[in-house]
Assembly symmetry: C2
Homo-oligomer: 302 residues x 2
Amino acid sequence: MPEQPQAPLLEQEVPVEQRAQKRGILYVVGIGPGAQQHTTPEALAAIADAELVVGYSTYIKLVGHLIQGKEVVRTGMTEEIGRARTAVERARDGATVALVSSGDAGIYGMAGLVFQVLKEMQWKRGDSPELRIVPGITALSSCASVVGAPLVHDFCAISLSDLLTPWPVITRRIEAAASADFVIALYNPASGRRTRQIVEAQQIIRRFRDGTTPVALVKSAYRKLQQSALSDLDHFLDYEIGMLTTVLIGSSNTFVFEGYMVTPRGYTNKYTWDGDVLPGQKPGHSLVVSPQAGNAECEEPE
Amino acid sequence: MPEQPQAPLLEQEVPVEQRAQKRGILYVVGIGPGAQQHTTPEALAAIADAELVVGYSTYIKLVGHLIQGKEVVRTGMTEEIGRARTAVERARDGATVALVSSGDAGIYGMAGLVFQVLKEMQWKRGDSPELRIVPGITALSSCASVVGAPLVHDFCAISLSDLLTPWPVITRRIEAAASADFVIALYNPASGRRTRQIVEAQQIIRRFRDGTTPVALVKSAYRKLQQSALSDLDHFLDYEIGMLTTVLIGSSNTFVFEGYMVTPRGYTNKYTWDGDVLPGQKPGHSLVVSPQAGNAECEEPE
């Protein structure tokens, strides 16, 4: 019997028996702060390999020059679930898809939601799609590099958005971070409608730290409209703080030097500037804390 | 009077009057986890531009193919002060220098020490050298991408090295992070000589979290000898943990799915999988927490 000519199928209409044969690929890609100079070759290769690129419209704009001729699904904010589902389902059905986030998709990014969608659809390892998570430079790193070296010692990242997380959970974290002298990076500090949270965060942190503690505000690092300011805990609320601002609050050891914000690692607890070991200390051994010196809480006695 | 021929000067012997004229450049460069696919074009350009490359010998090896024909100063661990001084002083004297770190030089990296050396030598903005800090992908991001999406909600980074920081400061931070339900990333968890700290950290965190809390161990992410393992809070100490291991400890909401570690952001508190808003919630407004539902502390009720 001669073969019947088949009607061409639309890409969305791959029949179930064919789906199983073609295993799609889902890249979850962090493009870094925005400028291509800070996007890794691996992220660029993932976008180049994709036939479909999915992302929040602002991020799609940042990679506009890389996606000419490709199918693009761009959605607005608060449409994250739809975006993740589109990316996962199209990749499951055989497409090579890049779901792009700015910064690192694994830090407050879309990577978590991708796994939740996969779980919801009872995906198993070996099923389509194959997952490839491509890390990027997160806002923590890009913003810190703009203002100096504020994150050279222990730090916390806290999102002030209470759209999805109960506010009491967030305040408990702010209080803990402040009390234990972490450098604190606040993501999503405020939006047009949401302005109360950063004020309350300032009040909580102020209970534990001096008003002169350095605070940096960085907006749109490495993008055209980059802005940054150095202030302190008593005054940083005088500046405009919005959705694109990252707020970096120093620890008790953070200092300002020539307009840079610096958190020291503690070398001067043990060494002279010639690299010699201070009396009573041993290289390669735990720091010996002298009770007389009163430096048990202080990494950089001056 | 005819000019006298001058003896050629060695590069180190630039006379003081010439020093002031040539302003050197000091790049402080994070090269990311190690594989060139994860090093940004900006970092590669900085290394290409440098005449002198300074770094810890392991990191110099990672960029070996990029530095042929350049002058290289490689030093061992615990020689950080000497390394920073060499880089700063040579750049001050007019050279273009790249001080390279793996990961991000601003996160537990050399950037802090550079500013301390500059402060020590009473450097002012506008003086030589010009500073250019180039961010890289930090271990947090690279390690997270290897095991899934563990850092999609609030997290802390804590170094367990007590070589420069008093151990009581560190334990206070571990306790605060554990009590406020942060995901915890432990840098420098152990070394050949320093093995007690990770055991004590486990005991502190276990007081606040279930023994089944997911824990990921990642070693040498994106390098030839990459290893990773997924365990839990009661069992992760059974694995080998060394200087190159990053330990990621989940929050109370972190789950394991098909061998991946995932911390959800909280979308299912507010939305259905079709993207519709749940009863009682409003998109763009604070999460409404129902006391009956008992989810005030829980982002992903199942």
